[in-house]
Each structure stands twice: as C-alpha cells, then as structure tokens.
Subunit: 420 residues, 2 copies
Amino acid sequence: MNDTPNTTRRGFLKAGLATGGALAAGGGGAAANPDPLITEVQPWATGLGAGVDATPYGLPIEYEADVIRRNVPWLTADVISSINFTPIHALDGTITPQGCAFERHHSGAIDMRKEDYRLMINGLVDTPLVFTYADLERFPRVNHTYFLECAANTGMEWAGAQLNGAQFTHGMIHNMEYTGVPLRTLLEEAGIQPSARWIYVEGADASSNGRSIPLEKALDDVLVAFRANGEALRMEHGYPVRLCVPGWEGNMWVKWLRRVEVMDRPVESREETSKYTDTLADGTSRKWTWVMDAKSIITSPSPQSPIVHGHGPLVIAGLAWSGRGAIERVDVSLDGGRNWQSARLAAPPQPMALTRFYLEIEWDGSEMLLQSRAIDSTGYVQPTKAQLREVRGLNSIYHNNCIQTWWIKPDGEAENVEVS
Amino acid sequence: MNDTPNTTRRGFLKAGLATGGALAAGGGGAAANPDPLITEVQPWATGLGAGVDATPYGLPIEYEADVIRRNVPWLTADVISSINFTPIHALDGTITPQGCAFERHHSGAIDMRKEDYRLMINGLVDTPLVFTYADLERFPRVNHTYFLECAANTGMEWAGAQLNGAQFTHGMIHNMEYTGVPLRTLLEEAGIQPSARWIYVEGADASSNGRSIPLEKALDDVLVAFRANGEALRMEHGYPVRLCVPGWEGNMWVKWLRRVEVMDRPVESREETSKYTDTLADGTSRKWTWVMDAKSIITSPSPQSPIVHGHGPLVIAGLAWSGRGAIERVDVSLDGGRNWQSARLAAPPQPMALTRFYLEIEWDGSEMLLQSRAIDSTGYVQPTKAQLREVRGLNSIYHNNCIQTWWIKPDGEAENVEVS
C-alpha cells in the first residue's frame, strides 16, 4: 500500500486550477491580481480577536453550522425511537467527533449520573457481581479505534436509489477511539461456569434493547467502554457506559449497559428475531447476521458535496471499512463499474476501523458514474446491488453493503442513481 | 511492547474493591445487596428519553461540565494574548476533542470565512502563487495524527512546583488527526529556486506570529491543514487553515496561515529571538530550539484527579510523546525516582503523536511520589528537573520536559511537589 501522494508532479495547479492564480513577479502584484483580499489590509489583521476565556468548550465556527446530524422525519413514527445521520459528506480523515456521530434510540436517550450507574453480571457465573462506575475505572483499560455501523445503514436503498446524499444513504456510522475494560476481565472476575455459551446484554433504558452474543466473541474483543475520543461518552451514545462489539452491527453495542447475563443458549429477543434479521425472497429470514461486511462510499463528490470548481484537478474522497478485518484495497470506477483503478489509502488500514481513501483525477467536465469497491483482508469483495439482490431479494432492510453509484453531471452536481 | 493488559488474573476485584460487590446467589439478592439502584426500578427504565432531533450537534452531558479548557488569569496581562489549558487530567485515550483542545493567541482568535481565505507563496520561487481555500481542496491530501505542544508547556515549573494540576502544568498540548496538503506540494507548484534554504510563515491575525522554518523541514512533513479529527478547524485553532509542523514547538504551527515566503536566510523575527528562545544561566540564549523533546505526565492520579476509592487496585494513567520520533518505553516510579517499572503502552506508539500508558498497581494506602519517564525511539531519556537545571539554569521558560512528581497522600489527594 502506498499512502504517500505523488507530490512531485509539477504543474498540477497550472494545468487546471481555475481560481487563485499566479502573482506577477516583482512589484506588479496588485495590478496583475486585483483581489482585494490580497491587495488590501483586512480587518482581522488590524484588530484583536477573541480571548481564551471566550469558549471554555469550543464549538464549530458559525460558517460550519450545516455540518450536523440530521434526521429524516418520514423514516419513523417518532423521533424518540428513531435515528439521525452523521454528516460524512462534510467530514474528512477517519475520526468522527462525538458531536456529529449519529444516534439511534429505541426509547430515547436517557440521562443518568455516573453515581447512579450499576452493571450487573449474573447467570452462569460463580459469583454474581455488581459494578459501580468507580469500580470499572479500577480494572486494566485498553484503547481501540473502531467503527460502529447500524445494521440498517443504506437500508432504504434496497428498493432503489431513494435518498440523495451520502449522509442519508451511509451516515449511520461513526468511528471513534474507545477506552474501556475488556468484558472478558469482568466475566472472569465473576467466574464463567463450564456450561456457558452465550451472554445476553441489556441497557438501562426502557427499551432495554437486549441482545445475545456468543461467549467466544464476548471473550475476544468486546469492550465495556466509558470514553470515546478521550472524553466521556455523550448522553446519546450511552453515557456513562456502553458496550463495544467490534465489527458487529451497531444494535449490539448496547448503551447505558445495565446487565450481562451469562447463559447456555441465546435469548432470541425481539431485537434479534422480528428486528435485525434479513428477510429473504422466499419469506424466511437469515439468522445471526452480526458482522458488518466490507463496504465503502465516496463522500465527495456526492449529492451534498458537488463539484463547484469546474474542470481540472479533482480529489475523490471516500471511506471504507470491514467488520471482518482491515481494508486491503479500494477500487474506484468513473464509469459505473466498467473500469476500475486503485485508490490511495491515507494511512495503514486498521482492523474494524474506518479507512480513508483518495483518488486524484483530472476531470474533463464529462458525466461520471462514480463507484467505490472495498476489498478486505479476507479477500471479500464488496458486491454490486444486483449481486446482493440475487441472493437476498428485495425484502431486506439490514446489511445492505452494496456498491453505491453517484451520477456526476457536467455542472458538477451529483445524484443518487442505480446502474444496471 | 505488550499492549494487552493481563486480563486473566482472577480475584482482581475480590482482593480489593471496596464498592459494588457480590450479589447473593439465588433469590436473596435484594437482602444481600439493598442498593436501590439494583433492587428498585429506576425512572429511566420506565419513561422515554430524548429524541434524535434534540441535539443536531451533540455536547457533553451536564455532569461533565468541569471538563473544559481553563485559563490562569494571573499568567498574562490580557486574555486576548494568552493561553488556556487542555483538561488532560480528565481525558483518556490519545485523541483530544477539538472542543477541549487548548488555545494560544497573540492577538486573539480571528473570525474568517473560507471564502475570504487566501494563501500566498512568494520569495525565491519561479512563480509566486495565491491559493484560495477551494484551490487547496484540489491537491492530494494526507492524514496524520500529531501532538501540538506549546514551547511554554510546563514553563511555570522551572522555578519550583507552582501549579497544582496536570491541566495547568502540562495542558498546553493536544493531539488530533489532521487532514491537509503537504506544504511540499504547494512549494513545488510555485517552483523552489536553487538559493532557497528557509521559509518564513505568517498568519492573517494582527500579530502575524511570523516564524522561520528550514526548507528541509518544510519539504519533509509540514502540512497545510484544514481538518482536525475530521471536522473543519475550530476558529480558535486557525479556521480555515493552519500549519502543522510535526514534533516542533506549537508557536510554529501558524494559524490562519496567510503567507509562506521562500528565503535564503531566516528572518530572526520577534517570535524566534526575544520569545521562544531559552535564556541560560549566563544570560545567553539557545538558538533554534524547535523540537519538543521526549516528555511524559501522569494524568491520573493527579491533583485534579485524586484517588477516591481507597486501598486496593489502582490504575495509573498517563501520556507520553516525543518530537523526535515514537515513544519506545515509559517507566513509572512510585517512590520519587528510586525504583522504576515499565508501564503498559495502550497501542503501538506513533511518531510525533501522544501515547497513552497505564500501570496497574495494588495501592496499600501509603504515600507515593509518582513519576513517569519517557524514552523515545532515539534512545533519549526524559531528564529530571535537576538535570535540566544543571544545563539550563533557572532563567528558562520554554522547553521544560522534566520528570514531574505528584505526592500522593494517604487520603488519596495529590500535590505537585519537587523531589531533591
């Protein structure tokens, strides 16, 4: 993998950039470039700005006020039991700030003090235990950056190209550096009995959102997390404690984690039977589809992030991820999947975390059908929508990891389309 | 390096945790553990919480309202030309959220729209150029996580133990994932003339904060950055564009970057002569002390983060970094530097980025003189305060990377002290 862009190709700007431009050498700058932002002293260079007491907790500048989570009112009956979307079309890099990381609640985000937090471990254990928040802070901690993707991400697109923007088609995802205690540590503290095969986890909110997890996964990489990107969790992400289930569907990352019951069988709760299963064409449903398969999306250009600068150099940027390991390669097509070229990965891919990719092209202003295709470390290749439909039919909601197409028009606008 | 905590030692909790505790097996839980948070249904489990439209940009929960940047009023004459401090005592992991990343201004934080942004490259170049913000977005981008440390971090401690808290002694630091264009790309676009040896960079604010940087560094890893942790920069961090000078003192990371002049010699500006140089005992000053040497700090326990849970298992947490490369090892002493043991590094250390370390101990309640000592990939060992003073005297302000001591008292309170 080459994560260094080619920075030695001279003439990049001269070949195509329409704005800015060369200053005349010598004293003729003003005449050659009458841009008042260059030739005139600006107010911010003559006066004083804001002091360091102005913002004890800093917020985005007013000009970025549109980079926010957005919900889709028609999607659910009530905002208490709904979802909003990360503005991935407007972000870069890989870390998602907590403030714009999407939310999903089944009975609303609850307000709990750390002092009122309790975590019970019971069931097939030698000693049932209850932990306070302060107890959790006394166990050895780990730090890992993981993506969290809702199983329903891209779910509205099964039936066709419906939502016009990467935020809405692919924004049920975020990627944060979590700090927490391995669940294994707490389970071993309680003492796992030989007949144990599963755990059942539930949250303190009214929905409880109970899910069954195989003991093997619980003892592998699951975290009882109390920090994201260094800070306490936001209320809407489960303050003070949530579960991290790396690579697996977001519904299992139970918020306001209240109880872990060790069991010999799964519960088969509402959240893993009537919900979060994939109904096939014949009416039967796939069972236990926990892992989020390899997927990618071009975040710019995209419908909410059109090309505004005309022909010439264009940076195509996107995100890729896999719940089965690290991203190995991302291909980009400009022509709806007929021809592919490898994108540049911005950093060495980490397992079960977002990977940023870029492809720099010279855009001649003609139409494009932009697609990206992720390949992960298991060799799995992100499928087309047609390939997914062939196996899964049209009844599914969850686990749509198909290749997305943006139709880029000559004016730079982008539209969500399907290619046959 | 072993980044996996020992999670197999049974009896961790039973040996020492004072709070929480074991539930009686069978039906006797309520009698054995009358904690109403376990035995009674709580209000958050019966009602609805907040909907997904409540916080389009999510803020920390009210209970975390003390995790904010703080300034020290007596430190400078005016808050417009001052500094505040990252609450490192209250953070974990390595990423610093923008909202609590420290600020330092010389003439206040200025308010500039992207549309009004211009970057000039002039001097010893073939073609002087002016870039708009939109121009910058058309060049190949890179992503890197780097620490930014103010040269004055820990500067008040030269004369003795003065400030009682890691936020104030070591909080002029943050660590973010930056997205930007290599400065090399833009310089090569303009065409560097053979006589070029230095660049001079300045910001658009009234102070301009001009600094000279050797061309070798400018062509190596310096970034023209427009994102931090995925988002646009905060106003106070240089929105829309700042310089990143990895591993080098924060003052060189010019905010609201306005101009890069390619030169054959350094300017020797105010900010690199009367300021940001280290006056020695004999009255002369060290010249060009750009690199931030290896340093570390125990963030918890610390004066603002005392031990509140009594004897038994204690997690010691801290941060280490080096401007010369990656952290190789961190040692921790419980007795003021007489005996040392290696801490656990939470993730493979990255060059010029914060590394989180942990050491888990059984605390018997006796006094401790807690210290940490960073060793970087060049073999450099973080010095004691006495070693630094021997070389540098007591006139310095900047570049104090000495070992810090926290006196932990039997009641768990911590105090900033010096050990002889």
